[in-house]
Symmetry: C2
Subunit: 459 residues, 2 copies
């Protein structure tokens, strides 16, 4: 039997190959990232503004200009429970598509939470523990991020309180149960546990909640308790940086596979999985090398921050409690339609990614919901793994690129990040198979309306 | 950083280490396995009796006395999608238990179905395809086995029809959706699609169904259609043999870990995961070596076939359509309580395992339901992975052994098979965390009653 390295289906690394440093793309920017501004003064915020919410080490990482940040052994030690994750050659999908393209996918679904989210959850729990924080709060929509943080807190002996959007809390109990199994306290948001929650409930006792409200509750909880800090699962610079372990591993694995990427594809909501996967490849592009490499972000056409948003200063949350950040935004008051890819329902986008998109270092496309499930089912039947609805957006993008290769007779190498499995999202597949899943038109009017309410930035 | 092989958390193998042969334990038996008997004549059944239901290659494997059976490349090629699976050192669990024992676990949850079941589903689909079978039928309870067969049929282009116990079909839709996503047709059993189903429905239009009824429907469907055969997920000799890839990999991985097992632990329902994990180690014991190795099967105390059953000839199904097999049985009319570990709700046990238990080559213990979930939650919080309720039985057995080591100050090496993840079983965890999960007392009277109805075997 042939044993050439490139013949494998999976490309595995040893535990000693788990990256020892995170890659900080800010070091390779030619111009600095526009700073977050204080909404009251319009001035750049400083570390002390963030100190009530985050431990100092994470605040330092947020603004660091160092190219490489050492990963503490205690974090790598937890990573060993599932990292390095496998890189697959999608031979069966290539065959099903009859494409000359070579398709590879990194699979982050092997983590205990079933997604890439623990890569940063573990790091955040560690630094909080180190600075003697006893308790973390966070918000969660469908629960992907909340379950990752619950696991991380369980590993480091931290208490964890998750404010879960009420409609998800009621309709999708299983991720809540997963969080509780790991020892987290989960409440439906709006809750009576915070002033923010009480205010919303007074106005509307039947409020279904929103991510914006849940953020307000989690932030208020952390800001008003000495022993507590707040944790976020995407968007922020340090969160994206923690995810670069993904792309750093992929680079090593492609070497083992004797392959070089022509196109990188990832789905994009807040930006963390896309960034973690692609940033280690962008170093070359930012240095003027690897010019032919295309890096494609795939977002839902119902919530198209990059492709239809405006690159301006806006709030990170719906209520308007956070600093102002410069990003592609649909307006912080825009509430996206109820997509099954809950992880991609964000009005804005990570500032690091927005800068790269603005400078045309990366591309973006938007795809409709039903088409992503078509792609996911085709992938599952060929490759076995059931993609999470978020990851299905990347799969759609990849299949389209592979079919283009077929039409053009080109043998390109396409690499994508399958950032999670869909075993906790089967209600979405049920709706798709029953023909009940709908596409949402681009909500142009709502976006126009929301963009009217962008905050005014003082000079 | 230390890089001694034994320091790792995971012990991975390369694709070239996927076993090339299955191990057939029958070759190492000193006396032959009691043959299956025809219920009408009391005579051993021959290949021709099984031909309407199974392809000839699987019938040959069922009775083969060869020690090693070659695994066709086409099957190994599919195995490469998830095999070799990792072996873990449970360092965090050891620490949480403060035990001197060393605990290792093989993790089969990385398969696309989330369990060990595809190891045989893929083999069965392959041999059926090779003999030009176009369609497979099977029964499923909660859906673990049905989803594995659905995936395998998708890989080999076979149609697949799954008769799913109606109460599960209605209450646990997600595994049904998983099967349908892979292209299988799933009907609630009893159905109007078969005579067996119609008969049951005539007697009771609201019948909740049972595994026994579903088997009758799947068998009838296969027996009455030229293009169709039947597929079973456990109990039979060839099914157990296909699972030996698990134990064969573990042996190699323990070598890499520089470890030798003192105790092997697995949960047991029909017997396939336990057999696949332990049989490759039993070769030594059957040859009179490895005398100190203990091999422990853990069954639910509510369905204790090995520890409370009788070693006699009985039907494999509830209705009485199958050949008679000699096994530890609670009586084929015994309906086990509605345990959440649906995969362990079987009145009998694989004949190969029964013979080994009868000859005291292996041990068995029974554990109550609530205690298994206590163990599973402790495991999840320490190691991250959420065990399936079936696998939680093994975890309970392991924790008890590890605590015994602690009490006795002994540093034993315990190895177990974590045969699946629990992401599709969160309703069970929800009940446990809410304190609503109950223990079922050993249903002594029901078993006594069922044992009165054992079939009479003609001399």
């Amino acid at each position: 039997m042939a044993t050439k390295a490139g013949d494998n289906t999976k490309f595995l690394l040893d535990e000693k190959d788990i990256p020892t440093k995170w890659y900080n793309i800010q070091a390779d920017f030619k111009t600095p990232l526009p700073p977050p501004l204080h909404p009251g003064t319009g001035q750049p915020i400083g570390p002390q503004d963030l100190a009530p919410l985050f431990p100092m080490e994470l605040i330092k990482q947020e603004v660091s200009q160092e190219r490489w940040i050492e990963i503490p052994d205690a974090i790598r030690d937890v990573y060993r429970l599932w990292r390095p994750t496998p890189l697959y050659r999608a031979r069966r999908l290539e065959k099903a598509l009859d494409t000359p393209a070579r398709i590879y996918y990194k699979y982050e679904g092997v983590s205990p939470a079933g997604s890439h989210k623990p890569n940063t959850a573990v790091a955040q729990a560690y630094y909080n523990k180190k600075e003697k924080v006893a308790r973390l709060t966070t918000e969660t929509g469908a629960g992907q991020w909340g379950s990752a943080l619950a696991i991380a807190c369980s590993f480091f002996g931290l208490q964890c309180k998750v404010y879960m959007v009420k409609v998800s809390y009621q309709q999708k109990p299983y991720r809540r149960v997963l969080m509780e199994t790991y020892g987290a306290q989960v409440v439906a948001s709006p809750s009576a546990d915070t002033q923010s929650g009480k205010k919303v409930l007074e106005a509307d006792p039947n409020s279904p909640g929103s991510l914006g409200i849940a953020i307000s509750e989690a932030v208020e909880d952390a800001a008003t308790r000495e022993d507590t800090k707040y944790s976020l699962g995407s968007v922020l610079n340090h969160v994206l940086m923690h995810q670069t372990v993904v792309g750093l591993e992929v680079r090593k694995q492609l070497e083992k596979a004797d392959a070089e990427a022509d196109i990188l594809v990832g789905c994009i909501g807040g930006g963390s999985n896309f960034a973690g996967f692609s940033f280690p490849f962008l170093a070359d592009k930012l240095a003027g090398k690897a010019k032919k490499l295309r890096v494609v972000a795939v977002e839902p056409s119902a919530c198209p921050s990059l492709t239809k948003g405006k690159y301006v200063y806006d709030f990170g949350d719906t209520v308007g409690l956070t600093p102002l950040v410069k990003m592609y935004t649909l307006g912080h008051t825009f509430i996206p339609p109820s997509l099954h890819a809950g992880g991609l329902r964000y009005h804005g986008m990570a500032p690091l990614i927005c800068k790269l998109y603005d400078e045309k270092v990366i591309e973006a496309i938007a795809v409709p919901q039903v088409a992503t499930f078509h792609a996911a089912v085709q992938f599952a039947r060929a490759e076995g793994i059931l993609p999470a609805p978020e990851a299905a957006h990347a799969v759609r993008g990849v299949i389209d690129e592979a079919l283009r290769c077929k039409n053009e007779g080109k043998r390109k190498t396409i690499v994508f990040n399958l950032c999670g499995h869909g075993h906790l999202d089967l209600s979405a597949y049920e709706a798709f198979l029953a023909g009940k899943l709908q596409d949402y038109e681009y909500p142009a009017e709502k976006v126009q309306e929301a963009l009217k309410h962008l905050p005014k930035v003082k000079a």
